[in-house]
Symmetry: C2
Subunit: 293 residues, 2 copies
């Protein structure tokens, strides 16, 4: 199976799991469940849950065992997008090619739909089976830490605080580590934990995740500058408009591309201890480097 | 020890646990951690975590074992207040006698401080020790379910949707069950679970919690009508102003008081199987019935 077909098959698995784990749209109060599903099933690329599944595979685990972890990280990702898009944050009207949650359901329901997806993430993760090395408590700690005040949410606060003033390269890296790399790395670690990875295996994929996470955000920044709104499914050029610090703004386009390439190579190197089992993870890194949306 | 001294000693224990579990105020990004602590240490009555500890005691457990559960429910309660007070929800300026979180830190940070407290709740709960009957996964499921889209958050959505139109008694009961009773009952159940309660014990405190939760909200509604803003530490009379349905509005003051009394008696009856160990829980129910703020 080529990588694009592989990714499509993972997306289908994740979509079915999310549909199964989440309350039906008609569950009372229906407005809320409809709003949660509107953003969750908006055609997201499912990169984070697919990384969970690919890492489980690379560590000798099964897809079935990793589905609660995969569904949970996608709920966290989607909630963070709903809240980031709010008028009091990035104030965006378009996400995944459709009006943002608050544009359709109003701000109050959008805040609550985000809250509910965040809460549902932990309810889903609690359905996972622990393994000899990693209890459910360890899984919850991993996800809560990466998506909590020190990382995912902390990065959004730093991003808010940095708006409209020039940021240093260090500040920019800090925001990206928090907002993007932390949840990508946690996705990868949760996949490894679902497979009861050895300490050596967990270290390898953690290194992989850290390089990949940073490369991912650089490419996001580049696409924001070079692609159209239609291609991205979200407002293009908004980082520039908001005078947000981005890699292209600080390093220029060429050096940013070179940096993304260097980090992707480093990600490959990190996977060496896992051998052939990590083939899909390697393809994943190359795919993310080459993506155009 | 009389009940007020008992409650004060529990509050002190919970405050110390929260301070220990939560990142320090200077942890990066400091704005966020300061905002989280502003609302968490705003002089809340700590009723929910105190119920966790009193129930643990009633079921033969220890306070120490129940502290992560107690801290977690207080984080959930505080996050829900921060989000409910936002301009896009109840739009309130005053909470626990101080300006609301968004009034001090802005709406963006307030949304994120709420998100971070919600996430921290699960990180804290994952620090709990499971017991033979109740794993950490069971604890996380309990808290996520009660504070999720079907209950706590669902109730807030129903509350938003009901604003400005007359609600039936049934609708009102539904909102209260979701917004208040569910988290109170979960607090009580988590306390029992920390003590490895027998199935019979868990059923008894669950019945207790359901009656108590409804009584609690009726008394809240009564206080909103009869007390001043200064006494409550939050804007008084706002339910009436918002033409929100309340028990006094639907049943009248006297019948509402009688209903709260009847539910408190029923809560007492539910505790019979626990015998003398539940003495503090009985005092708790009486205290909540008689409170004037």
């Amino acid at each position: 199976m080529d990588f694009k077909s592989y990714l499509a098959s993972r997306t289908a698995l994740v979509d079915r799991a999310l549909d199964r784990f989440l309350p039906k749209a008609k569950t009372k109060p229906s407005t809320l469940h409809v709003a949660m599903r509107y953003s969750l099933f908006a055609g997201g690329k499912r990169l984070r849950p697919a990384l969970v599944l690919a890492t489980a595979e690379a560590c000798g685990g099964t897809t079935d065992a990793a589905l609660p972890h995969a569904a949970a990280v996608e709920c966290i990702h989607t909630y963070s997008l709903i809240h980031d898009d709010l008028p009091c944050m990035d104030d965006d009207d378009l996400r995944r090619g459709r009006p943002t949650n608050h544009k359709v359901y109003g701000e109050g329901v959008a805040v609550l739909a985000g809250d509910a997806l965040l809460t549902a993430a932990f309810e889903m993760l609690a359905q996972a089976q622990g393994t000899p090395r990693y209890s459910v408590a360890a899984l919850v700690t991993e996800l809560a830490h990466a998506s909590g005040s020190r990382w995912l949410i902390g990065g959004q606060v730093a991003d808010l605080e940095g708006e409209g003033r020039p940021l240093s390269g260090e500040e920019l890296k800090y925001i990206h580590r928090c907002k993007t790399a932390a949840l990508l790395t946690a996705s990868i670690r949760l996949g490894a934990m679902s497979a009861d990875a050895t300490p050596k295996g967990l270290t390898a994929v953690t290194d992989f995740g850290q390089s990949l996470g940073l490369a991912f955000q650089i490419i996001d920044d580049i696409l924001d500058v070079t692609q159209t709104t239609e291609m991205l499914g979200k407002t293009a050029g908004k980082d520039v408009k908001a005078t947000k610090a981005t890699y292209p703004a600080i390093l220029g386009l060429e050096k940013s591309r070179a940096e993304a390439y260097r980090l992707t190579k480093r990600a490959h190197t990190a996977l060496k201890p896992l051998g052939n089992k990590a083939a899909r993870l390697r393809e994943f890194a190359d795919y993310l480097l080459a993506r155009d949306y």
